[in-house]
Symmetry: C2
Subunit: 338 residues, 2 copies
Amino acid sequence: MASHPQKDGAPPPFGRRPPRPPCVLLLRHPLQFSLFNRPLPDNFHFLKPWESPLPLDDFLSSDNACSAEAILTSGKVPVTADMLRRLPEVRLVVTTSAGLNHIDLAECRRRGIAIANAGGAYSEDVADLAVGLLIDVLRKVSASDRYVRRGLWSSEGEFALGSKLGGKRVGIVGLGSIGLKVAKRLEAFGCAISYQSRKKKPHASYAFYSNVYELAANCDALVICCCLNEQTHHMINREVLLALGKDGVIVNIGRGSIIDEKEMVQLLVQGELGGAGLDVFENEPKVPEELLALDNVVLSPHTAAFTPESFSDLCDLVIGNLEAFFSNKPLLSPVLDE
Amino acid sequence: MASHPQKDGAPPPFGRRPPRPPCVLLLRHPLQFSLFNRPLPDNFHFLKPWESPLPLDDFLSSDNACSAEAILTSGKVPVTADMLRRLPEVRLVVTTSAGLNHIDLAECRRRGIAIANAGGAYSEDVADLAVGLLIDVLRKVSASDRYVRRGLWSSEGEFALGSKLGGKRVGIVGLGSIGLKVAKRLEAFGCAISYQSRKKKPHASYAFYSNVYELAANCDALVICCCLNEQTHHMINREVLLALGKDGVIVNIGRGSIIDEKEMVQLLVQGELGGAGLDVFENEPKVPEELLALDNVVLSPHTAAFTPESFSDLCDLVIGNLEAFFSNKPLLSPVLDE
């Protein structure tokens, strides 16, 4: 990972900086700011390609863009090697997302570009929604809400039984900041927690599996909390889902492509997988048509981090990272290679 | 409350019992048994009025019913003073419900009739659903599931922000077995818990309010966990709901009539109350029409206790209570006057 500029003997950014404020390329107006009409700080010069008549590609080649020293991205527009080649002054990428799968990390590393992400600003909210989705699927909350709204309680009688949360063996895939918070919450419900990650976490007392198939075979539910990268892409494949089984439930608040969505949909339709609570999908905002008719799935439009409290924290963090970087201070939420 | 027969000097029931097994009047086939095709135990003689051509009133006056020594009820058919007068041998009422509002407690007390209820068989499941409903209302889980299913994510873009659970001040109305479990779960999410009950609980460390209005005025959400009785009927009135306020959320897993439903509906429609997660209603299975169109409410068809695990525990408990009573042993889940 890129070390902070002042640490590698390069002149500090303020030394290179023209008299005007540091120039930051915005790839999209960050939702977190726009939703609350929160102004962008005026101690930076923000480049806004969407205000230019030029297509993004042409804008990036313009003299204007060339002066960008940092990129602020939301995760919706990728930060590619090609983009970075056109922006030779860039030394920092700040993303408002927790995930990094939209950023060419190898190219950043090669160019010594530092990266800051959302850090833990979303962790609690994402963990809360993960638990909410698990309760919802097991206890059929959304499905029974539909039942009542359609007037079926009066006409058809009692609704179907759900399944008890307490005592369920829940496997956390990726025991990072979010995974730990999901585990802590589910312990309070009497769930038995185990987890899978690349390495055993020395401070976690939960049962560890290095293999996600083994985890699935020993669990009633999986909660996907890891990041998407080459290793985790389609890590939850047909075999893992079959190991979870007919009564097994999968919750995904990571990224859609961690699960082989096509296989998952097929198994849900065939009743080979018990249920799913999904905040993320492979081709957002597209959701596989087959899922829309199923009562054993809960579909959430990638809103796990969508609370005013998270958004406000995130705005503070974004500004804090930019100010720290251009004051030669350590980033507040640096992304470190593992 | 009725003391156990062997304690008041009366002859033990086995002394009075005819040679045939004890006769138990079933007011309705208990759902918990029928759903799993679990047979009723054959060491009791069960009277099943629904198998008789006689209307219930006439059946209760028949010689057959007269021999009933216990009543097993589900909470759907009331146990009235009139019914008890016609069944002079009855010394025990077992209800598969946690609530007792369908039983004439004063008449039972007068007649020395013991009562056993569901005890804690449902507490965990009910607490789980209470938390699930609170997360759902705050984080708009059911509402955003509808949004996705209607195809609006693709056509309309991002869904509305929810509200963070962590840091919320949650007031538990009635800190009994269920209330304590709700509190424990919500602590894991970082909520600040306080409660209202008739008396301060010596072992609870949460802030205590003797007045439910004061509790509401100092909370962001209320979770109704108390039983329905004369004191709690419409205890959550317009003033309490207004004190909870425009951003306040109410969750009810107790009984519908604890809330003044008409006032609640009006305040929800007018935006004077933030949201509601309701498993119970005043006139079940009727749900006020106005609620069906609201996105800030989650409607559940009185299924808080509906899991196979709870139902199986309940069957064990019902049989255990009947066997204990007719063997002169203490009831497993006696209802005690407070």
